[in-house]
């Protein structure tokens, strides 16, 4: 209940903040928001695009949230995503097989790629106590430059210098029937994969001994050690799972929403995953919903730009404000605590006042 109020008020405050910015820059907030939400929800095709935009965010949000729950701050989702997507792309481009074979192999490749990329910071943390914030950021750039070299060298498209060849349709998560159902939207099977993964992760966290161990290490590694839980093993395992989730984000992004991998770009979904996780209170279902909310914002923003005279930079700031408030839900927590405390104090003094009379 409390988390619900926190997330809700974070969003409300964010919307108010954005509205103030619009008003200050001389735009009508109501109109702005109307087009923002219409842009994401107006018709079935736009709704599909919103779902698609949210899909990689579900994975990265889940990746960050899972790490958070186990006491780790994985901000390398962007790199893990890139490398996972890259591994999946290699399979998709180099292997000649039917879709029924390719897709599962690509899913495995994405999982392995992301996991490998997170394994290194996990190992460094477990063995040498290198802080994962530092090492995951470094890994982002290693991924960036690895892909920068490897894509032109091995997967280069015939005619585009900075992108890999396009994946054949059978090697993407696109599904014609789904796209048609949503009026030509680029929503794809990644969404269903994401929902399945959300359920699996929720199950692991809440119902299994593995989740129990990982959370214990996250909360207090000293008592986990005391209880005989392998702390180093748990840290590495957490990073592996977190990385695997980010790797799946790569699959959803580069072989679902897109159909090739570009060099020189670290996907923004990696960092947005942090905000998604915070707004979703680090719970898998919360992440699912908050990722879709972010998808709505990103998806509707362009339409707001097109329909109003709010310039894109202001639109970016509005989105950033909403995200900022969402991500600082800790602050909301304080505000709410303060508010409840005050109310109780007032009630208390009222009672004692009556007593005197």
């Amino acid at each position: 209940m409390r988390n619900f109020i926190i997330s809700l008020s974070a969003v409300v405050f964010g919307l108010i903040g954005g509205a103030i910015l619009m008003a200050v820059t001389g735009h009508d907030p109501m109109e702005g928001y109307r087009f923002l939400f219409q842009g994401g929800l107006k018709n079935i095709s736009r709704f599909g695009d919103t779902l698609a935009t949210g899909t990689p965010l579900i994975f990265t949000g889940l990746s960050v949230a899972f790490a958070f729950r186990t006491g780790l701050f994985n901000i390398g989702a962007a790199g893990q995503m890139l490398f996972g997507g890259f591994c999946a792309s290699i399979i998709g481009l180099k292997l000649d097989a039917s879709g029924a074979v390719l897709i599962p192999l690509m899913i495995i490749a994405a999982i392995l790629g992301g996991a490998v990329w997170a394994f290194i910071p996990g190992l460094l943390k477990a063995r040498f106590n290198v802080h994962e914030v530092v090492s995951t950021i470094m890994m982002n750039w290693i991924a960036y430059w690895t892909i920068y070299y490897a894509v032109p060298a091995y997967l280069k498209a015939e005619s585009v210098e900075t992108e890999s060849r396009a994946l054949p349709d059978k090697a993407t998560l696109k599904a014609a029937w789904l796209s048609d159902m949503f009026g030509g939207s680029y929503v794809n099977m990644g969404l269903f994969l994401a929902v399945i993964v959300v359920i699996i992760i929720a199950f692991i966290i809440n119902k299994t001994t593995l989740g129990y161990e990982l959370k214990a290490v996250g909360f207090n590694r000293h008592s986990a050690e005391y209880a005989g839980i392998g702390v180093n093993r748990s840290i590495i395992l957490s990073m592996l799972i977190s990385g695997a989730l980010a790797g799946l984000a790569g699959l959803a992004q580069y072989a679902g929403n897109g159909n090739n991998i570009q060099i020189g770009v670290l996907a923004t979904q990696g960092y947005d995953g942090i905000a998604v996780a915070l707004l979703g209170a680090n719970s898998p279902i919360g992440v699912l919903v908050s990722a879709l909310f972010f998808g709505l914002l990103y998806s509707g923003r362009g339409f707001m730009n097109a329909m109003t005279d709010i310039p894109p930079e202001i639109a970016d700031s509005i989105i950033a404000i909403i995200i900022y408030f969402a991500a600082t839900s800790v602050l909301m927590n304080r505000v709410i605590t303060w508010f409840l405390g005050r109310r109780r104090a007032n009630a208390g003094s009222a009672v004692s006042g009556k007593g005197k009379v």
Partner: protein, 374 residues
């Protein structure tokens, strides 16, 4: 579970908000929707031209800025409504989404800068048959098939960057007479490579025919690999200047900005260093004291002219749909700025001679590497 409920409720709220606003304002929907509304009579104002930016910002001193300046010019001179949108990512889907947004908002003329839009425009020209597309620096095709398919509602525009680089190279050599020159590129892609090759040919031409002694060493020709890493640009430029390079041709967007900043610092400390700007006239960006600038000259391609011309053509009903246009020295689509405070009159007059020879075809600049550096 409660968290879940929370987030769901949150989204419900968002939806309610939309519905609420929708019913309130639906009557005057289209009315407020314009930007840059022209000052001319309202009849012309119904013509809307939009742009989707590439990954950089609108003030990138390069493609985005040039294209947008052309549209602003069109707003001012032709009363066209113009607007640009920024995609949230760099995938084809991101680009298509913004193109769709512009289309839905009534922008039936859409200009996009940069080769990254090639595949998106390939899809868009068929999807939005009644819209006109201008693709600058690229031609629509699929990722796997380089064969261009310029739809009847699309114009694909290229520039002869090598000619621009050549002229800048000649001007540089003439002005400095001797010393070392360097090159910093962004990504190693054709437009940037052509600048590089042209520049080298220009320097070589001046050395062979005009008695200058400007050298370019292989280690001083680098591609940084991105268009946005300002810090790396500064470092690369610093390293080159330390190696004794006097002038750097920076064809690298934000990376070039880093190089310019480094040069400004050094010039401020009394060193003689120069930058040759790119795409637009970068003289103002290089000002470090009073009106002194470290921009020797700029190798320009007039993107703004291209976008303006296309809007104008469409308004006049002469949109050259289906064509691939090349802006080169013959139609003044490339070259160096008309005023160059850092070039001597002598240099300028000699350069103008060379420009004449280029126009007449007496000098031929190759658009390929040949035996040049990188």
């Amino acid at each position: 579970m409660k968290k879940t409920l929370g987030t769901i409720a949150m989204c419900l709220l968002a939806v309610t908000l939309v519905a609420g606003c929708g019913s309130k304002n639906s009557n005057n929907a289209g009315n407020n929707a314009g930007t840059n509304a022209g000052t001319n009579e309202p009849a012309k104002a119904s013509f809307k031209a939009g742009m989707v930016t590439d990954s950089g910002t609108i003030d990138d001193k390069s493609f985005n800025q040039g294209t947008w300046e052309g549209l602003e010019q069109a707003t001012k001179d032709l009363g066209v409504e113009s607007k640009y949108l920024k995609p949230s990512g760099t995938t084809e889907a991101d680009y298509l989404k913004e193109i769709g947004n512009l289309y839905d908002a009534g922008y039936k003329m859409i200009v996009v800068p940069g080769f990254k839009f090639e595949t998106a425009i390939y899809a868009a020209q068929d999807k939005y048959k009644d819209a006109k597309f201008v693709l600058i620096d690229g031609s629509p095709h699929t990722a796997d098939d380089p064969t261009a398919k310029v739809g009847t509602n699309t114009v694909s525009i290229f520039f002869a960057e090598h000619q621009s680089g050549f002229i800048a190279g000649v001007a540089t050599a003439l002005q400095l007479k001797e010393g070392e020159a360097g090159f910093i590129g962004g990504m190693e892609i054709p437009p940037v490579q052509k600048y590089n090759w042209g520049f080298q040919q220009g320097v070589k031409y001046a050395n062979e025919n005009l008695g200058t002694k400007v050298t370019i060493k292989p280690e001083n020709v680098v591609y940084q690999g991105s268009f946005d890493n300002v810090a790396a640009g500064g470092q690369l430029a610093a390293a080159m200047y330390d190696r004794g390079v006097k002038v750097i041709f920076a064809a690298a967007g934000g990376v070039g900005v880093g190089a310019i900043n480094e040069a400004k610092t050094r010039a401020g400390a009394g060193k003689e260093v120069w930058i040759v700007g790119v795409d637009g006239d970068q003289f103002k960006d290089g000002v470090y004291k009073d009106d002194k600038s470290i921009i020797l000259t700029s190798a320009m391609k007039k993107v703004n002219a291209a976008s303006f011309d296309m809007v104008k053509a469409e308004q006049e009903g002469k949109f050259p749909g289906g064509q691939t246009l090349t802006f080169d020295i013959k139609n003044d689509g490339v070259g160096i700025p008309t005023t160059n405070p850092n070039l001597s009159d002598d240099t300028v007059s000699k350069v103008n001679e060379i420009v004449g020879k280029l126009k007449s075809g007496e000098i031929d600049v190759k658009a390929e590497k040949g035996d040049l550096i990188k």
